[in-house]
């Protein structure tokens, strides 16, 4: 009986890790590619530096332009994040609790979900986690080779997504504060500083990035309407994270045990959604580091309680993200695949068409799914333009009384003016 209990306790984290890895590989092609995923897959974002999108592009060059490939490329990075979290936790906790942190990260709902979608949040978090790990290593043991590694991962983080610069900048600020301003002789300060220069020059030479910041500043970005933002954030966290939200909240008591660089990434991951868009669920990816304080808290419990909590949290993730439909299944996996199931038929109807004008809210996903060249019809006068139209707004059908209908279903109409 004792042997069985010991075996269950040592096997439970590994089972959770295996389950988390497998969950990341389920239902990858079920939801439609969203407009954000499509813009990253098509390297079509003027607001982002190139590295994250380049990675998705390279995957498509190697394996083909397919949803499975694009999302599969992110799955790989999501899985690679797990050992990084183990090593971060190992800087603070013993081996058993570090493994527990990895198990919790493996089944952390926000990270599982966005590991199988083609957003840049998972690649970014991997680079942030590596930056944190290298920072902790250099701080503990100034082996120069870790300095080079820190430089490389920090630089890569800044070029993966525009927000990538935030962690190196905050770590640099924290280091300056730690040294009371005496940074001239500090290798960490120099390396972090150098790693941020190229991205600053890139931003200065690519007006799309500051233009996006100006466009959304004060509305989506910022703290205006702070109360409403907080409510929305809590709503998003609760709907996806479920019991993990509760566990993270309770694990706040363990924060004093953690070194300040870990605080930085925890606070960054927690606050970034509030600052840049509380409704964007992809920011929950960055909350996965809360698996470390949660593990630190669980480590104070008796082993049986620890295993029970781990299994309960794993079950809560399964309810939200398992392939088996249930009342708690995340919305995205409830019949959200219109384009996946209809695009082939639309393209068959559009065979031979050179271009198509889209009327309605044309996201980048339309360019992904349709083979002809897509023109955005909302911003130009289409009254006298002959051509093929895709109506995302069926109410505009009346503007084309004599057009020939090439395709029609409950969502869209494709017609050709004559």
């Amino acid at each position: 009986m004792l042997l069985m209990r010991c075996t269950c306790r040592s096997v439970a984290p590994w089972l959770a890790i295996l389950l988390g890895v497998l969950l990341r590989m389920t239902q990858m092609t079920l939801p439609d590619l969203s407009t954000d995923e499509a813009q990253f897959a098509l390297s079509a974002s003027a607001a982002q530096p190139p590295l994250g999108m380049m990675y998705l592009r390279m995957a498509q060059m190697l394996f083909g332009a397919d949803i499975l490939v694009v999302r599969g490329a992110v799955v790989v990075l999501g899985i690679l994040t797990l050992p990084v979290i183990y090593f971060i936790a190992r800087e603070i906790l013993d081996r058993e609790n570090a493994l527990l942190a990895t198990a919790l990260a493996s089944v952390f709902p926000g990270h599982v979900l966005f590991s199988k979608l083609a957003y840049l949040s998972v690649p970014l978090f991997l680079m942030w986690a590596l930056t944190l790990l290298m920072f902790l290593r250099v701080r503990r043991n100034a082996n120069p080779w870790w300095l080079i590694a820190l430089y490389i991962v920090s630089l890569t983080a800044t070029f993966t997504k525009t927000q990538g610069i935030l962690l190196p900048a905050l770590l640099l600020g924290g280091r300056i504060f730690e040294l009371r301003g005496r940074c001239i002789r500090d290798a960490l300060c120099w390396v972090l500083g150098f790693s941020m220069i190229p991205i600053l020059l890139y931003i200065a030479t690519h007006p799309g990035i500051p233009a996006t910041l100006l466009l959304y500043g004060g509305s989506m970005y910022g703290l205006s309407g702070i109360f409403a933002r907080c409510l929305e954030l809590v709503n998003v966290w609760w709907s996806l994270l479920f019991l993990f939200f509760v566990a993270a909240a309770v694990s706040v008591v363990e924060l004093p045990r953690l070194p300040w660089p870990v605080w930085i990434l925890l606070l960054l991951g927690t606050g970034i959604g509030l600052l840049l868009g509380p409704s964007h669920a992809y920011y929950t990816t960055h909350l996965v580091l809360w698996s470390v304080p949660i593990a630190a808290l669980l480590g104070t419990l008796p082993p049986a309680a620890r295993t029970t909590v781990l299994l309960t949290l794993t079950l809560s993730t399964l309810l939200v993200l398992s392939p088996v439909q249930n009342p708690w299944t995340y919305d995205l996996y409830r019949n959200n695949n219109y384009w996946n199931t209809h695009a082939a038929e639309m393209n068959a109807a559009l065979a031979g068409e050179e271009s198509i004008i889209v009327l309605g809210s044309a996201g980048h996903h339309v360019r992904w799914y349709l083979e002809p060249r897509v023109l955005i019809g909302n911003t130009f006068d289409t009254n006298h333009i002959q051509g093929t139209y895709l109506l995302l707004d069926q109410e505009r059908r009346g503007e084309f009384p004599h057009a020939r209908i090439l395709y029609r279903d409950e969502e869209v109409t494709i017609l050709k003016t004559q």
């Binding site: 813009q39 897959a41 098509l42 390297s43 079509a44 974002s45 003027a46 332009a65 100034a142 120069p144 080779w145 300095l147 080079i148 430089y151 630089l155 290798a187 120099w190 390396v191 150098f194 790693s195 220069i197 190229p198 020059l201 890139y202 200065a204 030479t205 690519h206 007006p207 004008i357 980048h364 360019r367 992904w368 799914y369 349709l370 083979e371 060249r373 897509v374 023109l375 955005i376 019809g377 911003t379 130009f380 006068d381």
Partner: protein, 93 residues
């Protein structure tokens, strides 16, 4: 001593990475001109009126002749299956 060598390595790598980025600085500096900045939204709007995806267009040059400003663009449409040939576009205001 070894640490300083590695810091130097990072510094040199930074400079090498910045060299290809610096070639776009003159174009960005042209946007500092208030007349150019005033005309820029009109240029973007003219691209939109053609139905183009702005993310498929790249600004390649700015020419100012007195109060008139010409923006030179290159459009490369890309979808899942293909990338179209680059098409030069000029918008003058």
């Amino acid at each position: 001593m070894r640490e300083r060598v590695f810091i130097l390595f990072c510094g040199i790598t930074t400079i090498l990475l910045c060299i290809p980025l610096a070639k776009d600085l003159p174009l960005s500096m042209a946007l500092a001109d208030p007349v150019v900045r005033a005309r820029a939204p009109q240029a973007v709007e003219s691209l939109r009126r053609r139905g183009l995806w702005l993310v498929n267009t790249e600004l390649t040059g700015i020419e100012r002749n007195g109060e008139s400003v010409c923006f030179h663009w290159v459009e490369r449409y890309r979808n899942r299956t293909q990338q179209r040939d680059a098409k030069p576009i000029t918008t003058c205001f």
